[in-house]
Amino acid sequence: MAGLYRIEDLRSDDLISIPIMGPALCAGFPSPADDFLEGALELPRWLAPNPPATFAWNIAGDSMRGAGIFDRDLAVTDRSLTPIHRSVVVAIVDGTMSLKRLVFEDGRPRLTFDNSDMPAFAVEEMVEGEIWGVVRFSIRWHIARAGLVR
């Protein structure tokens, strides 16, 4: 497999709701993780319909302003979503996790910036890039973030 996640392998089935994550009890071996379990990040079901595939990311940088995502925002990816034309995605580019817009030009996938101050053209071809997950929504803080973060 070229990456964690190849476009042609993606499922297009409708989303299915799954019970929210919680500690599981093992019938066989006691889990060594038992002493370290914490509640997962709490997201309402209408925002995150598929908890096992939902992961949150900190965003650093301003190259995706055009998508409404700014430095220090939080982007929530749903790995069960199929990336399509103009999806905002977390992708692995040159060994770094980065936030990009996926566009198809003449059927070829490209990862682009989305910021009018930056070059509009595609910055990377999808040769070495791997899509990690599709961003379902993002979160902005409108007061000092330190006041909210626990």
Binding site: P23, A27, F36
Partner: protein
């Protein structure tokens, strides 16, 4: 329809969890160390190829890892536990009955799936788990748990199978059983292996074809059961509900030796706190708490001491504060002041062996504990710790986490990427 059980497990599970969030770990050797960074407990194929063995002590491989650029991690059980819950949620989408066997292995009942469709379903499950959670898996299918486990082993070892092996298929069953060594069978230990060798048993098929009765004499009822299971006769049902615990223990080695009473009391109070959480999660309670602490047999020439004492509670409880009081009482009556050559304690723990369901336990007439007050307090404490992270609210007796010098070491732990808002992974925009 014939019975079919699948065993699905994560490949190098702990290492795979680390790889999901750090692309720089792809294709390089990665290992994860046990508690207190003692020894290697998970290795990627690249690390295995360097000759790093399972359970190898960290101090023995430290130099090799540095030379070869092996990426080394302390266990991040918060992350592994969360990723395990995610994979199991996906399994439950594919099979209604799932037995979580260990943190990275689950049995699935596929009996309702038509035989011809089982491989397809397993491939779909594997791809979905990989896509949704990033965890690579292997799946073995068989008419019994023992054969499912064997099929899983084959799926792992034979790359052409693409991670799935179905031994409910008679052709595959006949093909593989005479090609796999008997030592790969689940439950065959070193002792049995010697006996089987003497009987001329070499492959799994040889074992299957033995007469079960003489085997029972040589290898007890367990050996006989294995033969039936290899023949496709199920002796081990799926355990959908974990059995009620009879006992519970919280024991830890200190990361540095402990000589002071206050520190020992703090450690034991911390263990009692954890014990209370475990009991409450199972709706259980206890009337006895045993406390032990001892020096290390590795400290040659140092004074040795090993203490164990049992404290009886006025009535069955799972109240952390009552458990802490009992544990401290155990220390108070066994502690001896340090002299010229102090005892340097290496490990302590609290143990219960008489667990009952709280709802069934009788109330004491005299010395009754205040359940009506303690229940909501404990529930609030558990809720805070689940929501704000483990150790957010602790009894003062257990001491502040940041100031503990004795607690388990995890010096090379990765961030808790999925459960802590401050430790989320970062994507560059």
């Amino acid at each position: 329809m014939s019975r079919a059980i699948a065993l699905i497990d994560g490949n190098s599970f702990y290492c795979s969890c680390e790889r999901v969030f750090d692309p720089k770990l792809a294709r390089v050797p990665v290992i994860v160390l046990s508690n207190n960074d003692g020894c290697a407990i998970a290795r990627t194929s690249e690390a295995k190829a360097l000759g790093i063995r399972m359970g190898e002590p960290w101090f023995k491989i430290r130099d090799l890892c540095k030379q070869q650029g092996v990426r080394v991690f302390s266990s991040n059980y918060t992350l592994y536990g969360d990723m395990s819950a995610r994979t199991n949620a996906v399994y439950r989408d594919f099979a209604p009955r799932v037995e979580i066997y260990s943190i990275d292995e689950s049995f699935l009942d596929l009996s309702d799936v038509q035989p011809a469709r089982r491989l397809e379903l397993a491939r779909d499950l594997r791809a979905t788990v990989r896509a949704w959670t990033g965890i690579p898996t292997c799946i073995g299918i068989g008419p019994t748990k023992t054969l499912a486990k064997l099929a899983n082993h084959i799926a792992k070892k034979v790359p052409d199978l693409d991670g799935v092996c179905d031994l409910t298929d008679p052709v595959a069953y006949d093909h593989w059983l005479c090609r796999i060594s008997v030592e790969e069978v689940w439950g065959i230990g070193r002792a049995s292996l010697g006996k089987l060798e003497a009987m001329g048993v070499d492959t799994v098929a040889d074992l299957r074809d033995l007469d079960p009765r003489p085997v029972r004499k040589a290898m007890t009822v367990v050996g006989e059961r294995i033969i039936h299971e290899l023949r496709g006769l199920s002796c081990l049902p799926l355990e959908l509900m974990p059995a009620q615990r009879k006992g519970c223990a919280v024991t830890r080695s200190f990361s540095a030796r402990v000589t002071e009473r206050e520190v020992l009391e703090q450690a034991v109070a911390t263990h009692a706190t954890r014990l209370g959480e475990k009991l409450r999660r199972g709706g259980l309670c206890t009337t006895h708490v045993s406390v032990f602490y001892h020096t290390s047999t590795h400290d040659h020439g140092a004074p040795m001491r090993s203490v164990s004492t049992t404290v009886t509670l006025p009535e069955a409880t799972n109240d952390t504060l009552a458990l802490i009081a009992a544990a401290r009482h155990g220390i108070a009556r066994t502690w001896r002041d340090q002299g010229e050559r102090p005892w340097r304690y290496s490990k302590a723990g609290v143990i219960t062996t008489d667990l009952k369901l709280l709802d069934d336990s009788p109330r004491a007439l005299i010395g009754q504990l205040d359940r009506e007050r303690s229940g909501p307090l404990m529930a609030a404490m558990d809720a805070c710790n689940a929501r704000f992270g483990r150790g957010s609210v602790v009894p003062a007796r257990a001491g502040l986490q940041a100031k503990r010098t004795w607690s388990t070491k995890f010096e090379m732990r990765s961030p808790r990427y999925t459960t802590q808002i401050r430790e989320l992974p970062t994507a560059v925009a």
